[in-house]
């Protein structure tokens, strides 16, 4: 593993148009080939942080460098070239359910084709072969021509991993990839991600809720709370009490809100 700073967040802040603070003063460097797990409560900024890397979200302040280049002002072709080198896995798999598995996996490759060639389905033989290879890697070779909605949740997520693999990514982002899966398929999806990391040195960043999984797969764990980086340790330094602290919330907010609403309708406190 090369210990160069591959990804660099420099004092990154993000404020949403409605005033919500998504991220504040994030300073983080990620070396090439690291398997980084980001933990934190819902709404802590994990997804936002991840999406600033492929610019699905823009930041409000600071700078982000990938491979020594600032990416925050990329536009058009340059932005698309950045994105095609970054694979992304989603909680809801985000496959086109009515399309075949083959077409879903190939869609990871369209960034490398002109509009017309991809529209007419003129994918090269090499890329079609690569589709088969990508599916074999996740153990779904026989599903090539199956429609995506006929697969189980775990299988769909593994197709999504294959789609990301098609991009020849340098970075893979996985946003709660196992949140809607059962424990058994969870392991197979996490193993697929780990294999991308081991076999090709792809930098993998995963958002997770499960601390147990985080400890099992991560090289390093960072924690977010309220948009701020509150924790950052490599796996050999992580202790159980540390992780409990990350998940300590400031108070039962939703509950107090419910009480207010209740009293408003009843007129009695």
């Amino acid at each position: 593993m090369v210990a160069e700073n591959f990804i660099e967040f420099k004092d990154v802040g993000k404020v949403y148009p409605n005033g919500t603070v998504g991220l504040s003063h994030i300073n983080l460097t990620i070396p090439k080939g690291q398997f980084l797990v980001v933990v934190g409560l819902s709404g802590s900024g994990k997804s936002t942080l991840m999406r600033t890397l492929n610019r699905m979200h823009d930041i409000s302040s600071g700078d982000i460098m990938i491979d020594g280049q600032s990416i925050i002002n990329y536009k058009g072709k340059q932005l698309r070239n950045l994105r095609r080198k970054i694979g992304m896995i989603f909680q809801n798999f985000n496959l086109v359910k009515r399309s075949s598995v083959q077409r879903n996996v190939l869609s990871g490759r369209v960034g490398y084709y002109s509009t017309w060639r991809s529209a007419l389905g003129l994918f090269s033989q090499a890329d079609k072969q690569k589709t088969v290879e990508a599916l074999r890697r996740v153990g779904l070779g026989e599903k090539l021509y199956t429609r995506a909605d006929q697969l189980s949740g775990g299988q769909q997520q593994r197709v999504a991993v294959a789609r990301a693999f098609m991009q020849d990514p340098k970075i893979v982002l996985a946003d709660e990839p196992v949140a809607s899966l059962d424990p058994l398929t969870t392991d197979s999806v996490m193993n697929d991600l780990k294999k991308l990391n081991d076999d090709f040195g792809i930098t993998v960043i995963v958002n997770l809720h499960s601390l147990e999984l985080a400890r099992k797969y991560a090289d390093r764990i960072v924690g977010l709370r309220g948009g701020e980086l509150v924790y950052d340790k490599t796996i050999d330094q992580v202790t159980d009490t540390d992780l409990d602290n990350i998940y300590q919330s400031e108070g039962p907010e939703p509950e107090s809100e419910a009480i207010v609403m209740h009293s408003a309708t009843e007129g009695v406190i």
């Binding site: 492929n54 699905m56 698309r80 070239n81 950045l82 994105r83 095609r84 080198k85 970054i86 694979g87 992304m88 989603f90 809801n92 798999f93 985000n94 496959l95 086109v96 359910k97 009515r98 399309s99 077409r103 869609s107 990871g108 490759r109 369209v110 960034g111 084709y113 509009t115 991809s118 529209a119 999504a160 789609r163 991009q167 009843e266 009695v268």
Partner: protein, 262 residues
């Protein structure tokens, strides 16, 4: 604390419902008196209607041979018109969909054009195209194309607005450009709706094109008008039966196909 609240007097006698009902009845009465709807006259002159039915009850079966070609022409007109309208509607519907085009300015302009096209009555379009390209089926094809375009683009963009947006985000994240996102993530999700709406519009167009013939826009309508002008109700009956058969066939085919698709 946990008591069921009592309904107020107004709620108990359903006052709102009574008011709305009263308003509705008042409105119907008012519009009826304003437009001069006279039910007495309708029933007094009902024998006119039965007299017509009586004449049509003896169809001139020898006329059937003559009707076949024009009714096929009607179906052909509807097919070509619907196809042209659909092809033009696809790009417009994509541009009018809220989840694809985030720019409200472009969307508003596109939707305004679509509303404008839908406002034009098909009979007026037919008159217009007859004036432009002359009497004949070509005018009918153009009319149906514009009519289908207006209708289909609305059905299409509403279908597009219901799709799962996850795949759009996924495709965008792979570095696909906007057209590629539409081709790979939008079209596959709505394709079956598109086919279904195409068939539905085709059905409507077959019916509509019978009327268009009145204005000289080709098809069976020309014969319908001629027979009515000549008071040849035995021929009218054949034409109406022929239209019925064709509409039933198309209905059955398109219903079966749509059920399989959705």
């Amino acid at each position: 604390m946990n008591e069921v609240p009592k309904r107020s007097f107004v709620q108990r006698i359903h006052l709102k419902l009574i008011i709305w009902l009263g308003l509705f009845i008042g409105l119907v009465y008012w519009t009826a008196s304003l437009t001069g709807v006279n039910l007495v006259m309708f029933f007094e002159n009902f024998d006119q209607f039965t007299a017509l039915l009586d004449k049509m009850a003896r169809p001139d079966w020898s006329y059937t041979q003559l009707v076949i070609n024009p009714i096929l022409q009607t179906v052909q007109m509807a097919l070509i018109g619907t196809t042209i309208g659909t092809l033009i509607a696809i790009p417009f519907s994509v541009l009018a969909a809220r989840n694809i085009v985030k720019n409200p300015f472009i969307r508003t302009i596109i939707r305004f054009i679509l509303n404008l096209v839908r406002t034009l009555p098909d009979l007026m379009l037919a008159a217009l195209f007859v004036a432009i390209v002359g009497i004949g089926p070509i005018a009918g094809v153009f009319t149906l194309a514009v009519f289908s375009f207006g209708m289909i683009s609305k059905l299409f963009y509403e279908a597009i607005e219901t799709i799962d947006e996850g795949p759009l985000e996924a495709l965008q994240a792979t570095g696909a450009n906007r057209s590629q996102v539409v081709i790979f993530a939008v079209i596959p999700q709505v394709f079956n709706y598109f086919i279904s709406y195409f068939l539905y519009t085709f059905e409507i167009n077959v019916r509509a094109s019978t009327v268009l013939g009145y204005l000289g826009a080709g098809g069976i309508g020309v014969y319908l008008q001629r027979s009515l002008n000549e008071f040849a109700y035995d021929k009218t009956a054949i034409i109406i039966l022929a239209i019925l058969v064709v509409v039933l066939i198309i209905d059955t085919i398109s219903n079966t196909m749509r059920e399989r698709l959705l």
